[in-house]
């Protein structure tokens, strides 16, 4: 009897100790989180393996994938609720200013500092963290890094006949454009009609020098215009008033330059937006094109891009500048954030998920498995084996050394909408001059901004670097 009692006590003690250890090992076991996500690669790569996360931490994560149009509205509505349905939020970096100003996102600064070694904070390209900050606070964490870079048909550029003809016509060697003037020359040179020859082959359809977004839908044209505008020396805001200042000479020149590229674009240029324009490069139907790196990842995958299937070679280069000297690169980030209205326990559990979903281990796994995620970690982008597999890694890494963040203002949407419409109208010939188009757009933005005190407007445009990056 005594022996039996002793055995029971021992078993009880072992059970209690195991339970305590388990509780310590999985402090958030049983917590359920919902993520307001999107069908973007930053989410779709993670969604199928959240079971692994649950197994490791005991935290159950359910990801809802909603359409990009309307997602920001849903986040805003969600942020208005004191007991949110979604604890985790997917955010596009230009939204951070608006959501930060609304207090919708949890400040991750102290957590990032506390867990700097675990998350490899130094391994993350600084601009990708900066993209997710507002007024010195880190409000989201990069899950996919975006860089505006150039893709070109390397096989055409390396064709001896084409190279010789180009040099004869323009007086310099055919190479990836370092300046926008060269970009225009290249686009002009490679624009060919059906029946003409390209790299020795007779074309069975028209071939285009470039394919840019000129569509006003969802402000698509602004994605192409802003990198050019910034390369020409233009900025968004007046540093004295905090109002829209995109009506100066650099802005006008940039718009006029973009219009000068129209003859080298497909005839449906006014309808071209994001993926429709990158589709031309993916099918091998244009010579040079700059875009976000989230689409560049498709170019090495035959299932997504015909150019890879056809065996055509795509080359990668930094986005052109005006004088050929390095200028700040245009960046963005697709990120994960925590709803500020979640409970403390949910917030901590959500942070555990973010650390896991953006970890070097997982990002490396995606890269090795061949799944396209636009990477944001130095260790992955600089890995020689991965650079050989994904030739654009080197460009993404190099071009972010001198990067400058994308527009981060709370009125980002107003800028994108108004400039999207007015610039597209100018490109279509509906507005006579670039100046008129830019002034109309700027006035519309300023009519909304001017109701705010100048101090507030200046605070918005003079956003300070994230504390977490301060050395």
């Amino acid at each position: 009897m005594m022996q039996w009692k002793k055995t029971m006590w021992a078993a009880g003690a072992v059970l209690a100790m195991t339970g305590a250890a388990w509780a310590q090992d999985k402090p958030f076991a049983g917590v359920e989180l919902k993520m307001l996500g999107i069908g973007d690669t930053s989410v779709t790569r993670v969604a199928p393996i959240v079971g692994e996360f649950e197994q490791a931490t005991g935290i159950k994560v359910h990801i809802d994938q909603l359409p990009y149009p309307g997602l920001i509205d849903k986040i805003i509505v969600e942020a208005s609720s004191d007991s949110p349905t979604y604890q985790l939020l997917w955010v596009d970096s230009p939204w951070v200013g608006m959501l930060g100003e609304a207090g919708a996102l949890e400040d991750l600064t102290s957590r990032a500092k506390r867990d700097a070694a675990e998350i490899g904070l130094d391994d993350i390209i600084p601009i990708q963290l900066q993209e997710n900050t507002w007024q010195g606070k880190l409000l989201a964490f990069p899950a996919s890094g975006m860089v505006w870079s150039t893709n070109y048909r390397k096989d055409l550029f390396e064709n001896p006949e084409e190279a010789a003809a180009f040099k004869a016509k323009y007086g310099y060697d055919l190479a990836p454009a370092k300046t926008w003037a060269q970009y225009r020359d290249i686009a002009e040179f490679f624009t060919r009609k059906k029946g003409e020859k390209l790299a020795g082959e007779v074309l069975d359809k028209d071939f285009y020098g470039t394919a840019q977004a000129y569509s006003r839908v969802q402000g698509a044209i602004t994605h192409d215009y802003f990198p050019i505008m910034r390369a020409f020396g233009g900025d968004y805001w007046d540093p004295k008033t905090g109002l829209c200042a995109m009506t100066g000479e650099p802005h006008i020149k940039a718009a006029e330059f973009m219009k000068s590229l129209i003859p080298f674009n497909p005839p449906d240029y006014l309808g071209l937006m994001w993926d429709l324009r990158t589709g031309y490069m993916e099918r091998g139907e244009d010579a040079i094109s700059s875009y976000w790196s989230v689409r560049t990842v498709r170019l090495t995958n035959p299932a997504e891009a015909k150019v890879a299937e056809k065996g055509l070679v795509v080359g990668y280069a930094p986005s052109p500048t005006v004088d050929g000297n390095p200028q700040p690169t245009y960046t963005g980030a697709l990120s994960f954030a925590i709803n500020s209205k979640a409970t403390d326990k949910e917030k901590e559990a959500a942070w555990v998920f973010i650390k896991w979903a953006t970890s070097e281990k997982l990002m490396r796994r995606f890269a090795e498995e061949g799944q396209g995620v636009s990477q944001f970690r130095k260790s992955i982008l600089s890995d020689p084996a991965l650079q050989a597999k994904y030739p654009y890694y080197k460009v993404l890494l190099e071009s972010q050394k001198n990067a400058r963040r994308r527009i981060f203002h709370p009125f980002y949407q107003a800028v994108e909408e108004n400039f999207g419409v007015e610039l597209s109208k100018y490109m279509a010939g509906e507005t006579a001059t670039a100046k008129e188009a830019l002034e109309t757009a700027c006035n519309a933005v300023n009519s909304q901004l001017s109701i705010f005190p100048v101090e507030q407007r200046l605070r918005w445009i003079n956003d300070v670097p994230a504390e977490v990056l301060a050395k």
Partner: protein, 274 residues
């Protein structure tokens, strides 16, 4: 009078033109849904290619599309049934009550339909959040009914106005009460109106996007949101969107065809007074 050959030719030509105009988008949706992604936007457009069902496979494997179809059916049929039940009885009352302000009441009911949906999204969100109804089909059934009931009232009021009150009086002389008269005499005579109302309610509920986006998550997500969720920040997956669009056309077509017999009658009823 037998139509001449020329008249016949013109009639058929007109029918063909109308068919081409209305069927072209559906044909393009179908063709695009069968195209592999890399040739989706080939120039010139390719109409001869090896079709693939990959987009349909992705639709049902990447997302629980079959459940989303069920959600949409539940919401659309639920709202249609509820709106017809309430709306028909309300319309009968509005049609039969003799009061100098009854037209104002009728207009007030119609004005509910004039609300811009975006204006009521946040209040609805907060109400359903408080009631614990977010991400449930019931929330959408309630919201859609607030738009469908006024429409039903107005459509059915016109049909009830057409039914002679003498018929109801005769039924009542035969011993029927008001309710029995309504269900056994008046309502069967307005069957075409019910069909028209049902079609409009169903189509509105089936196609609605804004409320479905805002008030649902994964549990009760409807097909319109599910299809659009293939639009992400880095790509619009046109093949899957087209496959989804084609699939969601089917229940609507079946429903309209089912109601067609009464629909034509309903749409033309009262157009010629004899």
């Amino acid at each position: 009078m037998t139509p001449s050959l020329r008249e016949k030719f013109l009639t058929y030509l007109l029918v063909i033109i109308i068919l081409v105009v209305f069927m072209t988008p559906i044909y393009l949706i179908l063709v695009s849904s069968l195209k592999p992604s890399p040739i989706m936007f080939s120039r010139p457009p390719r109409f001869i290619f090896t079709p693939t069902l990959q987009n349909y496979y992705d639709l049902f494997t990447m997302r629980p599309f079959h459940l989303q179809i069920l959600n949409s059916l539940l919401v659309a049929l639920g709202s249609t049934a509820f709106s017809l039940t309430i709306g028909t009885m309300a319309a009968y009352a509005v049609s039969r009550i003799k009061h100098r302000r009854i037209n104002d009441v009728a207009f007030w009911i119609l004005s509910m339909r004039m609300f811009p949906p975006i204006a009521v999204v946040v209040p609805y969100y907060i109400i359903f959040k408080t009631m614990g109804l977010l991400d449930t089909p019931l929330a959408l059934i309630i919201v859609y009914s607030t738009f469908n009931i006024p429409l039903t009232v107005w459509l059915m009021k016109g049909f009830f106005d057409e039914v002679p009150e003498a018929l109801e009086e005769a039924a009542q002389v035969d011993g029927h009460g008001v309710i029995a008269t309504f269900f056994r005499v008046t309502l069967p005579l307005t069957a075409p109106g019910l069909a028209v109302s049902a079609v409009f309610c169903f189509i509105f509920s089936w196609n609605e996007f804004l409320f479905a986006l805002m008030l649902t998550g994964s549990k009760s997500q409807t097909v319109t949101v599910a299809v659009m969720s293939f639009w992400s920040s880095d790509a619009v997956q046109w093949g899957r969107i087209m496959a989804g669009s084609f699939v969601i056309l089917i229940p609507g077509v079946i429903f309209v065809l089912t109601c067609q017999r009464w629909l034509v009658k309903g749409l033309t009823m009262g157009s010629v007074k004899g």
